[in-house]
């Protein structure tokens, strides 16, 4: 049996080993940032029942990625423009049109996604880069990508902090917030634009198909465990950031797809949260008796 000092060293080796590669260092930073950002904005997404929007904007952004590829532009430019246009379009159709929110999302995102698939199908060669945006490839995050991720994340984080109270009030009671002088229309559109930017930031890490899970699941897990907003927000961030980093570790040792491993881990935590919430309720009923 190895001595305690050796065992300790092995544990440290397990934690440190992935960091010997530069691409893993970048991947860990990206995972931490994306996990934190998605779970922060995801709190409002869950409370405003906008889960479908995240999925919609992510799928729509695929058209932007393909258009950028065809034009020889940076993927992020195309994805950002289409994601923001889709987000604002969904908001506009919902506020001004006679269709419900889920219908507006359904129409716009499937249309934009179909455009992306159509353009991709006309490409003469099969392209792996575009595939990686569907399922994410956090290990492929370059220095330039990471700088952009950090810049966009900083913009989103500062904007969310600036709008914190307006977002909270309009999420709870938009009519009374509006009457008190908070411009709920502006806040709604700002949230959609920030959501679009968050999705763009997350595309390379977890991919179009899985980004909605990182937006919704940490906040949904936290929602089951607390009845205070600030606690929900903190728990959601803790769950999102931890799962992203731990999922990346797991994917490294299991040699599995990183985006899928992160999402599977956060889904497991959701069910664990459900169990904990059920136990909490049972204990509360027992105490009342």
């Amino acid at each position: 049996m190895p001595a305690p000092a050796t065992r300790r060293r092995r544990k440290v080796d397990v934690l440190v080993a992935p960091f010997q590669y530069e691409y893993m260092q970048r991947a860990f930073v990206a995972a931490l940032v994306v996990g934190t950002l998605c779970s922060t904005i995801g709190t409002y997404v869950v409370l405003r029942k906008l889960s479908f929007i995240g999925d919609g904007i992510a799928h729509a952004s695929f058209a932007g990625i393909v258009i950028a590829y065809l034009r020889g532009l940076d993927y992020y430019v195309g994805a950002t423009i289409v994601a923001i246009l889709t987000a604002v379009g969904i908001g506009f159709v919902n506020r001004r049109g006679n269709v419900s929110l889920d219908t507006a999302i359904g129409v716009l995102f499937t249309g934009a996604f179909a455009l992306g698939v159509f353009l991709m199908s006309r490409l003469p060669h099969y392209n792996v880069d575009l595939q990686s945006f569907l399922f994410g490839n956090i290990l492929a995050v370059s220095r330039g990508d990471l700088s952009l991720i950090l810049l966009l994340s900083a913009i989103v984080a500062v904007s969310l902090a600036f709008l914190y109270r307006a977002l909270l009030y309009t999420s709870f009671d938009p009519v009374v917030a509006e009457a008190s002088g908070i411009r709920s229309g502006f806040v709604d559109y700002a949230l959609l634009v920030l959501l679009a930017l968050t999705i763009v930031v997350s595309l390379e890490s977890v991919g179009i198909v899985l980004v909605a899970a990182l937006l919704v699941t940490p906040a949904a897990t936290a929602f089951q465990l607390t009845r205070r907003f600030t606690t929900m927000l903190s728990l959601s961030i803790a769950i999102g950031a931890t799962s992203a980093v731990a999922g990346l570790y797991l994917s490294y040792y299991l040699q599995a797809a990183s985006g899928a491993t992160i999402v599977l881990l956060v889904t497991l935590l959701f069910f664990a949260g459900m169990g904990a919430a059920a136990l909490q309720r049972r204990r509360a009923i027992g105490m009342r008796r």
Binding site: R165, L168, F172, V175, V176, S180, G181, I182, F223, F229
Partner: protein, 247 residues
């Protein structure tokens, strides 16, 4: 507040037509009328939630939407909030401070003091830690009135705040409103309770899409307009079908 020739339409239905009204500081203005008469629409228009089709509306010399945040506090008749929202009574009342706070400002000692005072005024001190879904209808209504008070508004709009509250709470609410009015706050409130109108209001307006009568409560209550409305209310006890202004 000054309203001149105000008309509000919901698509093809006229909710208010040619309304003239004035509200001075330190005055409680009661608005009565049958269901679907446009009482709630009038409050929503003053709150800046509904755009007038015609006429002018000025609050402190400006259109409602041009006012500084926090100037108007509005308590709707029915709160369409998600009752599972993670917030307790204190959190809800504290939201009343939000319109007046700068983006990165911390909740100050004064903010906490104002929220505590609003909770005490509405007898909610013991319920401050309770989740909003665990309140009775009357307690929920009190929490929303407390939030409006915590806002320290310059104009208070209350849409039937006594609906579903017990007699003791109604009296506490009346005393609170009278206290605020005595302090100079203008209050505009809709009600169905015509019998206590004299205790609540300095002026009373009878509305049925138009202003049918206006004056001190005693005069209005003894006028034909009041009798007509009362008869109307008894005959049409509920909202008229197809009326979008109906609650």
């Amino acid at each position: 507040m000054r309203i001149r020739d105000l008309s509000v339409r919901y698509e093809r239905v006229t909710a208010l037509d040619g309304v003239d009204l004035t509200l001075e500081s330190g005055m409680a203005l009661g608005i009565v009328g049958p269901n679907g008469s446009g009482k709630s629409t009038l409050l929503k228009t003053v709150a800046g939630l509904v755009k007038p089709a015609r006429g002018s509306l000025e609050v402190f010399g400006e259109p409602p939407r041009s006012l500084r945040p926090g100037t108007i506090a509005y308590v709707p008749q029915i709160e369409a909030v998600d009752w599972s929202f993670p917030a307790n009574v204190y959190d809800v009342v504290a939201m009343g401070r939000f319109p007046r706070m700068h983006a990165f400002a911390r909740f100050s000692k004064r903010d906490r003091h104002v929220v505590d005072a609003a909770l005490d005024a509405l007898r909610l001190g013991d319920l401050r830690g309770r989740h909003i879904s665990q309140l009775s209808g009357g307690q929920q209504q009190r929490a929303f009135v407390a939030r409006a008070i915590a806002q320290e508004p310059k104009l208070l709009l209350l849409d039937e705040p006594t609906t579903g509250v017990d007699a003791a709470t109604e009296e506490a609410l009346r005393e609170l409103v009278r206290g605020l009015v005595a302090g100079g706050l203008p209050v505009m409130m809709t009600t169905h309770d015509l019998d206590r109108a004299e205790d609540w209001f300095d002026r009373l307006v009878v509305v049925d899409r138009r202003v049918l009568a206006e004056g001190d409560p005693k005069t209005v209550l003894s006028s034909g307009a009041y009798a007509g409305i009362r008869e109307h209310s008894h005959v049409h006890g509920h909202a008229r079908a197809g009326d979008p202004a109906a609650p």
